[in-house]
Amino acid sequence: MIVAENVVKSFRLSKEQKKENAARPGGGKVDAVAGISFTCKPGRIFSLLGPNGAGKTTALRMIATMLRPSSGCINVAGFNTVSEAGKVRRHIGFMTGSTGLYERLTPLEMIEYYGRLHGMEPAFLEKRKTELFRLLGMEEFAGRRIGKLSSGMKQKVSIARTMIHDPQVLIFDEPTVGLDVITAKSILQLIRQCRTDGKTVIFSTHIMGEVSLLSDDLAIIHRGRLLFNDTYQAFIGAMKTKSLEDEFIRRVEEA
């Protein structure tokens, strides 16, 4: 479960940004996330939809404890992301489209590394590793250096890294960006599988097709504020346009 309450994240503007935004109020600061509240429930997929620069990545980084909220509070799996950041990190899996891998390690070494970092018992790590490698078809290249793998193989390693410690909460930040159709499809399958397994899933995207395929709950974020936050069915029911895409554009333009 993820519970975000009135979360704000402000960033100081750089000199160039200050010049560009001289007329804007706020005195050298910008709210990337400006007071958002939402809940992601176990066994459901929460989609965070928004245009580029809307605050999606900042919100997900706060959930993953990488950034501290300027105000407000986020609880993940019952732990506060600021005061109990270590406990939160033990319960989350985080993946982005641009997630990198250690090219000089083998998939086996990399997965073992993250398993050990998550404090997994050797026997459980071994069992989990065998399961995931079989499930993802990674046995064949488990001992090869990651740098020599194809992009599809690398994506499988990335999935295994995210899942190795069997996290309760999964965070996907635009996970299909830059991937080919087949690899993107396997990621979407994985996200669905996580829902079936009863995990809490939050994923950000700006691709409408992914929203319609996956969402149980939906939030639209624009300029750091939530324009919509309800179930996907409620969104469909309240649509004033013909397509998802048009409805999204309408809401963003009206904001």
Partner: protein, 399 residues
């Protein structure tokens, strides 16, 4: 502690598989030291040898015949006397290389001799060629020898012994031990190698483990693991420090091996050097390398984590190389000694302390001061790096 060990082991494994780092750690010290020793030293010696053996074209101008002088000049068969150039052509002939030297005895030389006066004898040569500059000593030697022959003749005429014009004979007696002499010469060169290699050895992994991770997109995955930022930065810091230490040691080892096999170094110098370098001195040097590498690791990691990319990190770090070399070079200058004040200046203190350690003249209190300064710097560097690593504006700069 367990998580720190896990991060350290992984970073170490990753680093040891990085060809660039291995090149900086092992291959580069070998090439640099090999080139310095076998190329520059041999080139220098060859130049000296060539200057000594070169057949010089010399023109001697005198109104009177100087058979004895010409005989001395031509002894050893290394001088060709030129008789084609005239006195008015001297400058032109030396400039265009037809002559290496022209010795011009003035027309009143003979009268001066008879009057028992002094004659000024100009030597024309071109100092812009280093060979001629070295060969000048040979011409000076011949003229001095000739001058002494004339002096002896004068003294004999007056029935005076040579001692008459030599009331004092200076006898230099250096009481410093061979160890101290070697300490002054070799000790100045030693830090030049290991300080720079400490830095270069730490540089490649520092860039790879921070800016490289940011660029490859692996930093985020590490930040969401249960390892704290302190554990992550400490794991990286220890690996970078270890790489710096290893590179410094590898440079010292290469230096030793190349030094031993070098034919350019006379055998007595070689055995003298090997005798004076004690295990105790090496241990003291090694113990200075540890905090120095830790300090470099902290600075390099801080810069690297700030950089948006590998390239940016390299461009920020490159000028730091010069900052490191300057205090080392100052330490090589003669007359600069390790004092309570110079012991406070990082890197310079190592440079000066190394000379004293090898020479066996290090004062325990000054050594303690150097250690204190180095460890304090390393600790400060590490605290800064750890705090820097926690800053969101730094770690997510450009991510």
């Amino acid at each position: 502690m367990k998580l720190l060990a896990i991060v350290f082991k992984k970073e170490l494994r990753d680093m040891l598989r990085d060809r660039r780092t291995l090149f900086f750690m092992i291959v580069m010290p070998f090439f640099v030291i090999f080139l310095i020793f076998n190329l520059s030293m041999r080139l220098g010696m060859d130049m000296e040898k060539r200057a000594q053996e070169k057949k010089l074209r010399v023109a001697v101008f005198s109104a009177v015949p100087l058979p004895k002088f010409l005989e001395t000049l031509q002894s050893g068969d290394r001088v060709i006397i030129d008789s084609q150039v005239t006195r008015v052509e001297i400058n032109q002939a030396v400039n265009d290389g037809r002559l290496d030297f022209a010795i011009s005895f003035p027309d009143d030389f003979s009268e001066n001799l008879d009057r028992e006066g002094t004659t000024e004898v100009p030597i024309y040569y071109k100092a812009s060629t280093s060979e001629n500059e070295r060969a000048l000593g040979r011409i000076h030697g011949v003229l001095e020898q000739y001058g002494r022959q004339l002096l002896i003749q004068r003294l004999e005429k007056k029935n005076l012994p040579v001692d008459f014009v030599e009331p004092l004979r200076i006898d230099d007696r250096d009481v410093s031990s061979i160890r101290e002499k070697i300490g002054q010469r070799l000790g100045g060169m030693f830090p030049y190698f290991f300080v720079i290699f400490c830095f270069l050895g730490a540089m490649a992994p520092a860039i790879d483990l921070a800016a490289g991770e940011k660029e490859r997109g692996t930093m985020e995955t590490l930040l969401v693991s249960p390892a704290t930022r302190l554990q992550i930065v400490l794991g990286k810091f220890l690996v970078v420090t270890a790489s710096g230490i290893f590179t410094a040691l590898s440079s010292v080892l290469w230096l030793y091996l190349i030094f031993r096999q070098s034919k350019a170094i006379p055998a007595e110098v070689l055995s003298g050097v090997l005798k004076v370098i004690e295990w105790k001195s090496l241990l003291l040097l090694f113990s200075m390398i540890i905090p120095l590498c830790a300090f470099f690791a902290a600075i390099l990691l801080s810069v690297s984590v700030f950089a948006k990319s590998y390239k940016e990190a390299q461009s920020i770090i490159a000028p730091l190389n010069i900052l490191i070399i300057v205090p080392v070079l100052i330490g090589i200058f003669p007359g600069i000694k390790l004092t309570a004040l110079t012991a406070l200046i990082p890197i310079l203190n190592i440079s000066l302390a190394t000379k004293e350690i090898i020479g066996g003249t290090i004062a325990p209190l000054l050594m303690a001061e150097v250690f204190l300064v180095l460890f304090a710097l390393a600790a400060l560097g590490l605290v800064f790096c750890a705090q820097w690593f926690k800053r969101e504006t730094v770690i997510f700069r450009g991510v």
